[in-house]
Every structure is written in structure tokens, then in C-alpha cells.
Symmetry: C2
Subunit: 255 residues, 2 copies
Amino acid sequence: MNRYKSVIAYDGSSFSGYQIQPNGRTVQGELEAALQKLHKGANVKVAASGRTDAGVHAIGQVIHFDSPLEIPEDKWPTALNGLLPNDISLQKTEKVHPDFHARFSAVGKEYRYKIYTSSYRSPFKHMYECHYPYALDLDAIKAAIPSLLGTHDYTSFCSAKTEVEDKVRTIHSIELIQKHDELEFIFKGNGFLYNMVRILMGTLLEVGTGKKSASDMGWILSQKNRIHAGKTAPAEGLYLWKVYYSSSNEEEEVI
Amino acid sequence: MNRYKSVIAYDGSSFSGYQIQPNGRTVQGELEAALQKLHKGANVKVAASGRTDAGVHAIGQVIHFDSPLEIPEDKWPTALNGLLPNDISLQKTEKVHPDFHARFSAVGKEYRYKIYTSSYRSPFKHMYECHYPYALDLDAIKAAIPSLLGTHDYTSFCSAKTEVEDKVRTIHSIELIQKHDELEFIFKGNGFLYNMVRILMGTLLEVGTGKKSASDMGWILSQKNRIHAGKTAPAEGLYLWKVYYSSSNEEEEVI
């Protein structure tokens, strides 16, 4: 048996999220269906670095699966992409040690959140970026970022629906890139709680419109209560961009 | 009665083309339905600069319509976008002279054709760019362009399904922009025949793979026969980018 690690990209627009469920089309469901075809009907279980919600996209989601097939690493994308729907694409596969686990071996993650601020909705962006046609004070947003970094209990920035108990995480950086009428926020950390990036993003947008101030961030963190942070930003702007493993096999951006 | 000229953008992926038809969702159908709602049930006929086929996109399609409503120019996008589906967006409206006609007043058009050459399909580009993961000799393509420019009878580059009789058109320029693994071809001319940009593009791609040579272009034109040109390139890469009117009211790129 071989363990394979793959980087996959998907357009989350038409999925009920990553994780398989009884009703609704899921990324995991499509991956396992394609692998089952390739394995002549045998079930192949896929493990991912983490779930993504309905509408959330992935550029560098990482999965692993075990297979008796001896397909060369560079032939896997061709073999599987023909069996996958057009909104999922396998970008890269490598054979890894049987101890490798897409979720438990991950040491960090990068998410990106895309916003466009043009006055009118774009027919090409409405599923891929959050439309936010309101004046934003970017300096206020930048001033709010430092107090959100570091190691904290991020309960205030986590959906109450989570089942995770330990809510301490480390955010290494939040970077803002501005191009014309588009904003891209890059979040890097050792891990993120359920809805954490979208709640951080929604809170930063409220700082940008003056509803909250940069100096509120420390207090919100200290309250350990979701009701003090901003609204959860919409799913369509969010991308799981990259999953980091030990330095020797860091994922490249592949799309 | 006022005549209004509007610039609209649409994602052609889910349309059976621009022009209204008995079956199938069309851009014109959606525009007229939205205008009918705004006019309390009265029919409002929309005229466009030209049709686009199923799957073809528009960044700067231009339409005109007549309306008794005295809505200020800058309020039209807000008024109509709320009644339009997410894959059509009205970007700009101005009141024009009653002699203005979106089609007959046009003096030129710009189309763009987008290609991505990465080895594997992208889940984010498959509806918006043509996937062409084959080696292309861009120098050969550039060498083929000059003989396609100027004023010619473009019968060889026009779908046999056309009903237009005069197939003489002028192509001002064909420009190639390369960014990483993406190619963008910019076609500017006084007008384009049915499928003309896609057939020009398909022919240039065959030059890029060596199936045709740059020196074949003049001969293909001279034959005035569609069978000598290359295959029609897929719809998803094509964008109606801009429509030019007399110099005083040239359209801006608005998206």
C-alpha cells in the first residue's frame, strides 16, 4: 500500500462544503467517487488538511489517501482529473511516508480573503470575491492588525458551533495587498478555528467603516465571547491558499 | 421618451447567448424582463451592439433602449442591477440623442481572447479562459498576425452559418499579451463577422503548434472559403471587451 499526498484546487461555489454528507454535493464526495472509479469499485478514503464551508474555495488544499496502485507521481493529475468534475482539479501528487497525515502533520495554513470595492457588482467576481462597495479606512484596518497577531485564545473569533475545546492558536501575520479596486488579505498561522478567518475579516471590515476601532481588538480577544467580534464575512471571498508541513516539503503555490 | 445607452457586463457561462430565443436563458431576455419590472409591466425593447454566442462573455457590451422614465444617469445601475440576475451587471448609463443606435452607430469593436497554458485544468478558469496545455511557438503566431490585418474579405474566417453578405472588414490590430501561463489576444477592428474572432484565434493556435505556418495566412484569406482556416476556438475564452462609437463618446473600460 502506498500513501499519496495531493494538492487540490476547487471552486467552492457549487459545493455544500468539503466534507462528505448525506445530502449535497461535496468535494470529498467527488474525490472519493473519482478514486473509486480508478480503483475499479474499491472504496478509497480521503483525508484532508481540514474542512472548508459551502462557497469557500481552495487553491492549495492538501489531501492524502492510500492506494495499492503504483502510478508515477506525475501521472496522478492526468489519471484523476479526467474522472473529476471541472470545479475540482488535482494539481500535484507525491508518494509520502505512511506516517504522513494531511491534517495532523500540518504545521501551518495560509488563507486569503478577496474583496472588491467597485460601485457595482461584477458578474465575474460575485462568486469569487466579497463585494464591499463602501468606503474603507485602510489605515485603521492596518492599525488593528498587530493586536490580532501572536498566540491567543481566539474564542471571540470562533463560531459558537465549533466542537474544538482548545481555542489557542498563533497567527503569524495578516497582510493586506491592494490592487486597484481589489483587496486581498493574507492570513498565516499555525491553525485556524471554525469561521475564524471570516470573523477576523468581518471585524476588520467594521474597523474600516468606523463601527469598531483598532483599539477594540485587544478587548474583544480578552472577552472570549463571539458576540463582541464583527459579523462573519461571506464565504465567497475565502480561499484555503496553502498548507504548510515540515520545512522539507512545503507546498508550492500551484495554480 | 428618452433614449438611454448602457454598458453592460455579463458572464456568458449560463446563457444560451445574448439574443432572445423561444427556449433558453438569454442576456436580452433577462435585460428586457428587468426593464419590464421597472416599467410596471410595459415592454421595453433592448437593442445591442451585436449578439454574442452561448458561453461568450462581455465586459463592455453596449445596449440602448427607450424609456419614459426620467431616472438620472448615475441611478440607472442601482435601479436595474437589483432586478437583474448576478451574472449580468449594468455598469453605466447615459442619455443619448434619439438617433443613437447601439448597433448602427458603432464604429469599431474590441474583443479579447484568453488562454491559459498550465498543465492541468484550473477549476477557476475553465469557464473563463480556453485551456490550451500544449507548447505554442509565440514567435510564429506573432509572425502570422500582420497578414491578417487590414481590409479584406474575411469569408475564410467566418462561420458558414452567417446571413451577412458583405464580408469585407478591417482589422486594425491583433495584440498578444503574455502573463505567466496566460495569453490574452486583443482584436480591434471596425466589425467582426460571425465566429470571426474564434476562427482567427483557432487558426493562430494552429500556427503556434506548427500545423499551419505564418505564410499560409495570405493564401487562406485569398481562398474565401471557411474550410481552409483553423478550428473555431472555444467560446469560454472570448470577451466582447469594448464597443467604439464616434470619438466623442468612446466607451471606457468599466470593469
